[in-house]
């Protein structure tokens, strides 16, 4: 009987040991699993594309692809408005035919026909022509490396906009096409290079824009024969005479795929909204590839580098994930977000670290122990204030308040410390009296009214000062005199709010570290005649430095990942400016803002997961370093 109970409890013990070990290991696996799973969603961003060759098209369908949009005779259908066509004439002139359909209110159609010729004198013989898909812009290229652009928007005539010497070495330009959206022009030349051009406003040239070289795409060893733009995104297919096909993306400058057609190419086109490529060979065979290019716009340079986007005057870091139109060029640079994250963190730390560290030093070294028992829980409760509460107060209470009393804030930054200094000096007079000794350990309570007094004083001075110096409106003055734009939800607000959130964290950990320095060190220092402050600053603080440093790092880690405060207290504008008066957008807030609208497994969705991975890795490094520091500190002084 007794032995069966023992057996049973032994069995239970073994079972429990096994279960507990499994459970413990599960938690550890979970940590690693989280990172792997998030990374796994982000990873397909960097998969290389693939293509699958489908069966060759039957001969009777060949006529369908026999004529693609390039060539010397091009027609663009303009929907209900008619069509426009251009034809290159043998004498270097271009013939334009335009059919216009006008509908009156009753639905009667009036068809008119226009025809004119472009006979501007050109620097060379035309070697390629391209009529934009909207029928507005006509591009031509010459055999000696010039690009010509006409504007066909006006009725009855074409206006020569510009002739640009594209290549100094006067190489022959062999192929032209505009990419989706008709803004960028892809140019292929006899040296096998492929470049894209777009009109850019030049400094000093006023309104006129000039075709400018924007992107160099991977090219061929021999002349480019043909360029075909994708109807789906800003990518294109390039062909050379030997039948090599390269799929390229403009923004990311990536070589997406390289395919091989059996022979030279007679005609080519995208089908199925850019998902398939149809190529008619000069040998009469037609091949179809099914393309699988999930994220062509993603590359290391588009995520982290400066990119010259369409419509911009210079290369920039831009985050703008979506727009109203389909032919929009996605701008997914993470740099403005990383910048915003660090800007917010840095300002918050500048605000929080001195306050928290000095406060912790005071609490651990100088405060009376009864009061310490009250203050520490108070700070811990401060740590428990949900970030959504801090964010809400920062956005809806502090921001409008500061908007109204900006000058008062600036004054307070000067006046409050000044008042405190005065208070500190006058304290010296009473410090050695009986009253002063009794107050030892309670000094900071006497400082509270001084802070209040300072605030009140700056509130008193600010309005008349603002009225006399800045015409009653400091913000207007800032803008008109210094050119500084003031956002209501700006970086000062963030610094205060985020600082408020990290102060208790830094305070608690630093206070722990400072308190754990053995008392005999302090006693020795005091016995040698050092003052209280000298002891704290030169003996205690250096001894506790690893712990203090880990406190700062943990606070930093928290500030980097904080979401709600940044989301609510900034305007969430992804700009890169160090100005205190501008808003920002952080990685974490960006995820919260954009992920509800991100299509599942789309580029945006995966990019947001990538930024989550970045956040994870960043905080992982910071926290691990802090933890190692703390363990070293513990080893040094023991746990209690």
């Amino acid at each position: 009987m007794a032995s069966s109970i023992v057996d049973k409890s032994r069995r239970n013990d073994r079972l429990a040991a096994w279960l507990i070990k499994a459970g413990g290991l599960f938690v550890i696996v979970a940590v690693i699993g989280i990172l792997l799973l998030i990374a796994n969603v982000a990873l397909p961003l960097f998969y290389s594309p693939s293509a699958e060759k489908l069966a060759d098209v039957p001969a009777e369908l060949q006529s369908l692809v026999a004529s693609d949009a390039s060539g010397t005779h091009q027609t663009r259908e303009l929907g209900e408005k008619g069509n426009i066509s251009v034809r290159l004439l043998p004498d270097n002139r271009i013939d334009v035919q335009r059919k216009m359909i006008e509908k009156d209110l009753l639905g009667n159609e009036k068809v008119s026909q226009q025809s004119y010729q472009l006979s501007d004198s050109l620097p060379g013989a035309i070697s390629a022509v391209w009529l934009g898909r909207k029928g507005q812009n006509l591009y031509a290229a010459t055999a000696n490396g010039w690009l010509v652009r006409w504007d066909l928007a006006d009725e009855g005539q074409g206006r020569l906009v510009e002739t640009v010497e594209a290549f100094k070495d006067h190489r022959k330009i062999t192929a032209l096409t505009t990419l989706l959206g008709d803004t960028s022009l892809a140019v292929g030349d006899a040296k096998g290079q492929i470049t894209t051009w777009m009109p850019v406003r030049k400094p000093g040239s006023g309104e006129d824009k000039q075709l400018t070289l924007i992107h160099h795409l991977p090219g061929f060893m021999q002349p480019v024969q043909r360029l075909v733009a994708s109807p789906r995104d800003k990518s294109l297919a390039a062909f050379d005479a030997a039948g090599t096909i390269k799929l390229l993306h403009m923004t990311s400058e990536r070589l997406l795929l390289e395919l091989k057609a059996g022979s030279g190419v007679a005609a080519a086109a995208f089908a199925d909204n850019g998902r398939k490529l149809v190529v008619a060979g000069s040998d009469g065979k037609v091949s179809v590839w099914k393309l699988s290019i999930p994220h062509p716009e993603v590359s290391f340079s588009t995520l982290f580098g400066k990119v010259w986007y369409e419509g911009y005057d210079k290369p920039e870091y831009v985050w703008q994930s979506s727009a109203a139109t389909d032919d929009f060029e996605a701008k997914i640079s993470l740099m403005p977000l990383i910048f915003g994250t660090f800007k917010a963190t840095l300002f918050a730390m500048l605000f929080a670290v001195p306050l928290a560290l000095l406060g912790a030093l005071y609490t651990s070294q100088f405060m009376s122990s009864t009061l310490k028992g009250r203050i520490k829980p108070a700070v811990e409760i401060m740590a428990a204030v949900p970030s959504v509460v801090i964010g809400f107060l920062a956005g809806l209470w502090l921001a409008p308040l500061m908007d109204k009393n900006l000058l008062m804030l600036f004054l307070a930054v000067v006046i409050v410390p000044a008042m405190l200094l005065i208070a500190v000096f006058s304290w010296k007079a009473v410090a050695d009296t009986a009253v002063g000794r009794r107050l030892k350990g309670y000094e900071f309570i006497c400082m509270m009214p001084v802070v209040l007094l300072g605030l009140w004083l700056s509130g008193l001075i600010a309005p008349p000062l603002e009225a006399t110096l800045f015409g009653a409106d400091l913000k207007q003055w800032l803008y008109s005199s210094l050119g500084v734009r003031y956002d209501q939800r700006n970086s000062i607000i963030i610094a205060i709010a985020l600082g408020f959130a990290v102060i208790p964290i830094i305070f608690t950990i630093a206070e722990d570290a400072l308190s754990n320095v053995p008392r005999n060190l302090a006693a020795a220092s005091l016995a040698l005649g050092a003052s209280r402050w000298q002891t704290a600053w030169r003996v205690i603080l250096p001894s506790a430095l690893p712990g203090v440093f880990s406190a700062i790092m943990i606070g930093f880690g928290r500030a980097v990942g904080e979401t709600m405060i940044v989301l609510m207290a900034t305007g969430n504008t992804p700009i890169m400016s160090w100005s205190l008066f501008n808003g920002l957008r952080s990685l974490s807030a960006n995820i919260a803002v954009e992920i509800p609208e991100a299509p599942l497994f789309g580029t945006l969705y995966r990019t947001l997961f990538l930024s989550a991975v970045l956040l994870f890795v960043l905080t992982f490094i910071i926290n691990t370093a802090a933890e190692l520091l703390r363990q070293r500190f513990r080893k040094k002084y023991g746990r209690y």
Partner: protein
């Protein structure tokens, strides 16, 4: 220098106190019925409302007052600034009414007459209005029964629809008989529903005929069905006690009623319920795992490189930004597990997701992951603080390791574990960012727990106090009018969190006191 350090502490405390003061000051006053002031302006017109703010111009020193004028349906804005120089006289009309309405916010005005359902008018005073209003409200309550029946019918019909969908998915041909009978059943339910609906509409229209005519300060008449009035006061002739009573009534409404006017008025009940249920559900997941992991680390694992690594991993888990957990919850729980569940068990409903979208289950799991480190650290600490002699004593008496654990160590460590639990709850209550991705909504039509089988609806979305603050404060169309409600919500949330944290701190101090003195 000592004093400078002291001053920084003073600044920190000052900031905390300011935060509390701002929240308290803005929220506590919200439910107090404020008096109505009427101004006669220089052009002869009248304005009436509650004084909300005053400011003077920086240069001219001219003072201006902000009035909450209410009557959003008449004036299209809630607030109005009046220059003091424009005002020719001011009075406090005793007979002014403040109506809280179900729509369009408050109405300030004077009662002119009451109209009965048959169109006859009665000269009216407050007592008559009170009587008529409570009568209407009583009848309205009677209609609730019909509404309940209708919602039951609706749910049964929805259940049938899903059944039909399932059968159709399995093969419309093979199950055509069953489908037809179900369709008939459903048609019957729909017919009953329509009948009830008509009855309800009729009765409601009948009730709506009882109206009261009010005039605003400017003298414009407004006829309001009594049905649209939540309650009314004559604030200028109320005693302090009457106002205190009204205050309590409103707090009661706040805690136990549904929200009105796109969450900017009324109660917070669904949000409180959602928060509490989510946190409890989360504790069910996080407590066992956290405790087991801590026991493993402290009692079973051998100290060494691995345990050190694990500690670092756990501390890291605590330091990972909450938004990353949200992203993980979305990718793994919602789309990963939820999507697979849908494919396995509800293929007929695709592409409409059941579990493949945010819900209370996924939210609790995500938050459980986020708060597990808190439980682990607290449990470990409390196990560590139990003197070694106790363990050895138990083992020496012949108990197995497991018996020592369950009979001796765990009971002793309970306060520490409770600390961890309460702290994790406090953290979960205040966490919003990850929830925004895995199941919180601004307005959930149904609670995640009701009388319909299977009672707990894990797939439903829910409302949450923290998200309520963000949503009403930052995404509602009329932020200025919504602010008081946000302050009230904030206060409530803060009270919950502070209460929980204080409790945790208390437990911890208890634990420390118990063992620091009892070294063997």
């Amino acid at each position: 220098m000592v004093l400078t350090a002291g001053a920084t502490l003073a600044v920190i405390l000052f900031m905390t106190l300011t935060l509390m003061a701002v929240i308290l000051g803005n929220s506590l006053g919200y439910f107090w019925v404020k008096g109505l002031v009427r101004f006669k302006l220089n052009d002869g017109s009248y304005v009436m409302g509650q004084l909300t703010a005053a400011e003077s111009h920086a240069l001219t020193k001219a003072k201006r007052l902000q009035l909450k004028v209410g009557n959003r349906d008449l004036y299209s804005q809630d607030f109005r600034w009046v220059d003091e120089s424009e005002i020719s006289s001011k009075d406090i009309p005793k007979d002014a009414y403040l109506l809280e309405r179900f729509e369009h916010g408050n109405f300030f005005g004077f009662l002119k007459e009451l109209k009965k359902a048959d169109g006859s008018t009665v000269a009216a005073d407050a007592a008559a209005l009170q009587q008529a209003h409570s009568e209407i409200m009583k009848k309205q309550k009677g209609l609730k029964q019909i509404k309940g029946q209708m919602s039951d019918l609706n749910q049964s019909s929805e259940a049938l629809r899903l059944k039909i969908q399932k059968l159709e998915y399995r093969g419309a041909e093979a199950n055509s008989a069953a489908i037809n009978s179900l369709n008939e059943e459903r048609a019957k339910l729909t017919a009953t529903f329509d009948g009830l609906n008509e009855k309800l509409n009729q009765q409601q229209a009948e009730l709506g005929k009882v109206t009261a005519v009010f005039s605003d300060a400017a003298g414009a008449d407004k006829e309001l069905p009594l049905l649209e009035i939540v309650r009314f006061y004559q604030p200028n002739s109320m005693s302090i006690f009457a106002k205190a009573g009204a205050y309590l009534v409103k707090i009661n409404e706040l805690l136990f009623d549904d929200p009105r006017e796109s969450n900017t008025e009324g109660g917070l009940f669904p949000a409180i319920f959602g928060t509490v249920m989510m946190v409890l559900l989360m504790s069910v997941f996080s407590l066992p795992f956290g405790v087991i992991a801590a026991i493993y680390l402290r009692e079973y694992a051998k100290e060494g490189k691995l345990v050190q690594l694990v500690r670092i991993a756990v501390n890291n888990l605590a330091g990972v930004p909450s938004i990353v957990y949200g992203v993980f919850g979305l990718g793994f729980f919602v789309y990963g597990i939820g999507g697979s569940l849908d494919k396995l068990f509800f293929p007929e409903r695709l592409p409409t997701p059941v579990f493949g979208t945010g819900g209370i289950l996924w939210s609790s799991l995500t938050l459980a992951l986020l708060t597990v480190p808190v439980v682990i650290v607290a449990t470990e600490e409390s196990l560590a603080s139990i003197p070694k002699g106790i363990r050895e004593g138990s083992l020496a008496l012949g108990a197995t390791k497991f018996q020592t654990l369950t009979k001796v160590l765990l009971p002793m460590a309970t306060p520490g574990i409770m600390t961890g639990l309460v702290l994790s709850m406090a953290r979960a209550v205040g966490e919003v960012a990850p929830l925004m991705m895995v199941g919180v909504v601004k307005l959930a039509p149904t609670l995640p727990f009701d009388t319909q089988f299977p009672f707990f609806h894990m797939d439903r979305k829910f409302m949450h106090l923290g998200f309520h603050i963000f949503d009403v404060g930052f995404q509602s169309p009329n932020v200025e009018a919504a602010k008081p409600m946000v302050y009230v919500t904030t206060l409530l949330l803060l009270l919950i969190v502070i209460a929980a944290s204080s409790l945790a701190i208390r437990f911890r101090n208890q634990m420390r006191r118990r063992y620091t003195t009892s070294h063997f």
